[in-house]
């Protein structure tokens, strides 16, 4: 599903965010991405949905080299990847339901289908009651959950979650993790960047540890490793 070959990313500012990274993720895997603040987790994820382009190396997603994808196919790629952004990226001035429905509307889905799917997704993240609220009128954790609902509503074959529980209490975090596990069991590839040691240590899934843009550990059924280097 995902294959990174000797990928490096140097930002225009000169920061080396990813250095010579090789990585392979099978379809249907569940992967935790951990590492200290500024390690390069978000950058790695941005390369997958082509919010950034690698400086060198190749990034394959579903067999396609996304770093050389033509502009016209970009939208299609992103439609097939659900993303929980670290900073949510919710559309302001649109209700929670409209935010979640957006990804369905651009696919030209019928209104009936949209309504049904949006309600189901908001149910899953516990925001059914806040359907008509505006994102800026919700709490931090609630906004984070809208973002998750939007990422899963389209049942994409791949789900990228950048710190999906950073603003959630432990109980809700666990619910979200159970939800991600369920989605993963239906065949979706799930990649989660997180700092939540409790979650990582209890789930015992594949854990990839990144530090200073390098992969320093890749455990099959791993734990959150503190101070590896």
């Amino acid at each position: 599903m995902i294959k990174l070959k000797q990928v490096s990313k140097v930002y225009p500012t000169g920061v080396k965010a990813i250095v010579g990274l090789n990585l392979e993720v099978e379809a249907g895997e569940f992967v935790f991405l951990v590492g200290p603040s500024g390690a390069g987790k978000s950058t790695l994820m941005k390369l997958l949905y082509r919010a950034e382009q690698p400086t060198t190396g190749q990034v394959f997603v579903g067999g396609v080299d996304v770093s050389h994808i033509p502009q016209g196919q970009l939208a299609g790629l992103r439609q097939r990847i659900g993303v929980v952004f670290q900073d949510y990226k919710l559309l302001p001035n649109r209700s929670v339901a409209e935010n979640v429905a957006f990804t369905l509307k651009i696919l030209g889905m019928s209104k009936g289908d949209i309504r049904q799917r949006v309600k189901a997704a908001l149910d899953l993240v516990g925001l059914r009651d806040h359907m008509d609220a505006l994102p800026q009128h919700l709490s931090g954790g609630q906004q984070q959950r809208i973002c998750l609902a939007r990422a899963i509503v389209n049942t994409p074959p791949m789900l990228i979650c950048d710190e999906p529980t950073g603003n959630l209490d432990p109980e809700t975090s666990w619910e979200i993790m159970r939800l991600l596990t369920k989605i993963n069991m239906h065949g979706t590839t799930v990649i989660v960047a997180t700092h939540n040691k409790l979650v990582v240590d209890n789930m015992r899934r594949r854990v990839i540890t990144i530090d200073n843009g390098r992969m320093i550990l890749d455990q099959a059924r791993g734990v959150y490793s503190v101070g590896v280097n």
Binding site: A75, G76, L77, Q79, F85, K89, K105, G108
Partner: protein, 298 residues
């Protein structure tokens, strides 16, 4: 089948997006429409005034006449007929010398009667000729001069030259100002739209990241821009119509000597242009700036 339905739904969604976007803009909409209105009214108003001035110039120009003095003894009627056969002649009016003599007295505004002083009228018979297009006057005058029976010809050469110079000057000025004004108007309009799009650059970025294609993002903005342009232009149209039918009519009642066209046709033409410019500039302004952001984040 299903794919056609999909496209229809997407089109529907794009229209909806444009509409809600306009609605959500709130007071900003009014600022944009107001700016459009102001710019277009300046442009349209100037056009209409220029039109009026052209009418005025034409009216003055058409007052230029050719005066033909007929040789004593020649047939006035024959010359009259001959002249009428030329192209571009609007009217030929004979002025018998008796009448010319009376006019002269009147022109001199003197109470002394020339009749008392003179036995025989010193003036020749004359023909007053109106041409259709003042520009043809010199040509026609030359042709008439060659006709037999013409004693002398007079058509206000200097006056005509002056009027044509003035017409040329105002035409030049009019075109120059119109071009500058159009550029200014379009700059103001598209810039205003660009500022509103700039306001939503984050939204554009988010839409791109969740998989909206460039076309999908571009179209609602384009429609919105076109709508703002149309709305501003519509207000301008109403204003110009009001100006023409109410204000100018009143003014013409007050100052009846100002020769203005009936104007309905000309006003409609100007309003048509204004609407077109409004829509195009609104759409172009937003298209241009959306493209800017699409490239940045694509």
């Amino acid at each position: 089948m299903e794919s056609i339905k999909r496209y229809i739904r997407i089109l529907e969604f794009i229209a909806e997006e444009a509409i809600t976007s306009v609605r959500r803009s709130g007071w900003m909409s009014w600022i944009v429409i107001g700016t459009m209105f102001a710019s277009l009214t300046i442009l349209g108003g100037f056009w209409m005034v220029t039109d009026d001035l052209n009418v005025l110039a034409r009216a003055i120009g058409s007052r230029v006449e050719i005066l033909v003095f007929v040789k004593d003894g020649s047939s006035v009627a024959a010359l009259d007929d001959e002249i009428r056969q030329l192209q571009g002649i609007e009217a030929v009016t004979p002025i018998p010398k008796e009448q010319a003599w009376k006019n002269l007295q009147k022109d001199l505004k003197t109470s002394m009667s020339f009749d008392n002083l003179l036995e025989n009228n010193p003036l020749p018979n004359a023909l007053k000729i109106k041409v259709v297009d003042p520009k043809d006057t010199p040509d026609i005058a030359e042709k008439i001069a060659k006709m037999s029976g013409v004693e002398e010809i007079n058509y206000g050469k200097e006056l005509l030259a002056k009027i044509q110079q003035i017409a040329g000057f105002t035409k030049f000025l009019g075109i120059a100002i119109t071009v500058l004004l159009s550029i200014a108007t379009m700059a103001v309009m598209s810039n205003t739209i660009r500022l509103t799009v700039q306001n939503r650059r984050r939204e554009i970025e988010i839409m791109q990241l969740v998989g909206a294609s460039d076309g999908f993002i571009r179209w609602p903005f384009l429609l919105e821009g076109a709508f703002f342009g149309l709305a501003g232009a519509a207000f301008t149209g109403l204003f110009l119509l009001f100006w023409r039918t109410v204000v100018l009519t009143r003014l013409q009642d007050l100052f009846p000597f100002i020769p203005l066209e009936d104007g309905t046709f000309s006003t409609m033409k100007v309003i048509g242009y204004i609407l077109a410019i409004g829509v195009c500039m609104g759409a172009a302004g937003s298209l241009f700036s959306v493209k800017h952001y699409l490239k940045q984040n694509g």
